[in-house]
């Protein structure tokens, strides 16, 4: 199941793992804001290229992981852009047409969607979730909410592993041979998973109660020192994108 959380696995082994969360968040959000707020061309292409260079260069994300992680959002973006591309009307019967306006809009959606997704990957593929949650705690998000989110993250891996094991057992017993049995197996799997999740939470609660649990599981925070050099490079990168975009602005 670790394949499905490939971005998280990549984040743990990223050379940028020990960089400050604030550094990486500023870079990601600056690239995202540039992509969304400036004229789409050439901004989207520049932001996407910048994100790709960062991901495959200093962040050393494997191209196969990047390609696999992009598949699912790309499907939505392409389907959505195809819907925007086509214009429908009902006057004198149903009519479907592709116009210059819809083509421009579809390209806008496609460009911003792909560039935006790549920008988010900069944060997702370099920052493990525990670091982000520690960052949220420092940003004064209520402790109880961060605690629930942390516990969700901790329980994820156990439940994903349980899902894989149950699924393999069902497959070995021909539980996935046709649609009917697959649906029944999915029902059994979901129910069993919920019962296991409850059971684990209860056992964890009992174990923690014995250790004086008061509703918080504090852990050491990741290094939080902001790098002036990194922020300077971010400002320079985004500045270049802004200047080039405004000089060569296409349709908004």
């Amino acid at each position: 199941m670790s394949r499905s959380l490939a971005l998280d696995t990549a984040a743990w082994s990223s050379p940028w793992r020990h960089r400050s969360v604030a550094d990486k968040a500023v870079l990601t959000l600056a690239l995202l804001a540039t992509t969304l707020l400036l004229p789409v061309w050439p901004t989207a292409a520049l932001s996407a290229a910048a994100a790709l260079i960062v991901l495959l260069g200093p962040a050393r994300l494997a191209p196969t992981v990047l390609a696999r992680s992009l598949r699912s959002p790309l499907l939505f973006i392409v389907l959505g852009a195809a819907s925007v591309l086509v214009s429908v009307s009902w006057h004198d019967g149903p009519r479907v047409a592709i116009t210059a306006q819809t083509s421009t809009q579809a390209l806008t959606v496609l460009g911003r969607g792909v560039a935006g997704t790549l920008c988010v990957f900069v944060l997702a593929a370099t920052t493990p979730m525990v670091d982000l949650l520690a960052g949220l705690r420092r940003a004064r998000v209520p402790e109880a909410c961060v605690e629930v989110a942390s516990l969700v993250y901790r329980l994820l891996f156990v439940l994903l592993d349980t899902t894989r094991r149950i699924r393999e057992a069902q497959a070995a017993r021909l539980g996935l041979r046709d649609r009917r049995t697959t649906l029944r197996s999915a029902g059994t799997l979901s129910g069993t998973l919920l019962v296991r999740a409850w059971g684990r939470a209860r056992r964890l609660e009992e174990g923690l109660a014995g250790r004086g649990y008061t509703g918080a599981l504090p852990s050491l925070d990741p290094p939080g020192r902001v790098s002036i050099g990194f922020l300077g490079a971010t400002v320079a990168l985004v500045g270049v994108i802004v200047v080039v975009s405004l000089l060569g602005a296409g349709p908004r």
């Binding site: 998280d8 995202l32 992680s69 819809t102 997704t117 109880a144 979901s190 209860r202 609660e205």
Partner: protein, 227 residues
């Protein structure tokens, strides 16, 4: 069906975030209050959140020949009530955006509004309306309706953001409803059937928990002794 990063114009993304915020804040306050009064429930809530996330790893057969995954919106709303789901959905959607690249950060508000607010409330309303008459039908309707309501809301969000040049917002909404209907309508039916199977299994193996959550009637003590 989560709206991908960068897909919504900035104004729309901001507006949906503002629309979802009161529900999420209400849910977060409920979590803070619950933790103060009963710290042990934090773990149960976390288990519910992790379960909702993991549901997206379960493949369901689709009539189109492909496979899809349950949203868990109906199950969460029926078991844990919609206010809690607004908060849990936010956590789950944030995790899905960063761990699986499903959805996005700027589109988080829009996705929370459809999957964490409208879906759970639609499913919960159907459950409350029908649970007194026919439990199986109530479960099926709640799960299927939660899924359909999420999909319809997402289509409306996309239709508002990208109105058709000729037929306007209505045309835009119809286009998105049509394109995603191929996977979402069968998925809603399958998720309804899945819900019936899941709650039937849970009634067998986790009866007391379901009774505590008010999903099945509590067994009278005299009957329990007779058994």
């Amino acid at each position: 069906m989560h709206i991908a990063e960068g897909f919504l114009p900035p104004l729309h993304a901001a507006a949906w975030t503002v629309a979802a915020a009161p529900f999420v804040v209400h849910g977060a306050r409920a979590v803070v209050r619950e933790r103060r009064e009963r710290p042990e429930t934090t773990l149960l809530l976390a288990a519910a959140g992790a379960f909702t996330f993991v549901l997206s790893a379960i493949k369901l057969p689709s009539v189109t020949g492909s496979s899809s995954h349950p949203t868990g919106t109906g199950l969460g709303a029926t078991l844990f009530r919609p206010p809690v789901m607004a908060f849990l959905s936010t956590v789950v959607l944030l995790f899905q955006a960063l761990l699986l690249a499903h959805g996005g950060l700027t589109t988080l508000g829009a996705n929370v509004f459809s999957m964490g607010v409208v879906g759970p409330w639609a499913g919960y309303a159907a459950w409350r309306l029908l649970c007194g008459r026919h439990r199986g039908l109530a479960i099926f309707t709640a799960f299927a309706l939660a899924d359909l309501a999420t999909y319809c809301t997402t289509s409306v969000q996309l239709g508002l953001a990208f109105p058709d040049p000729v037929s306007g917002i209505a045309g835009g909404v119809v286009k998105f409803l049509g394109v995603f209907a191929l996977t979402q309508v069968p998925l809603a039916v399958v998720e309804g059937l899945l819900g019936v199977l899941v709650l039937r299994l849970l009634a067998d193996v986790a009866g007391p928990e379901l009774a505590r959550l008010g999903i099945v009637p509590t067994t009278p003590p005299s009957e329990a002794v007779t058994r």
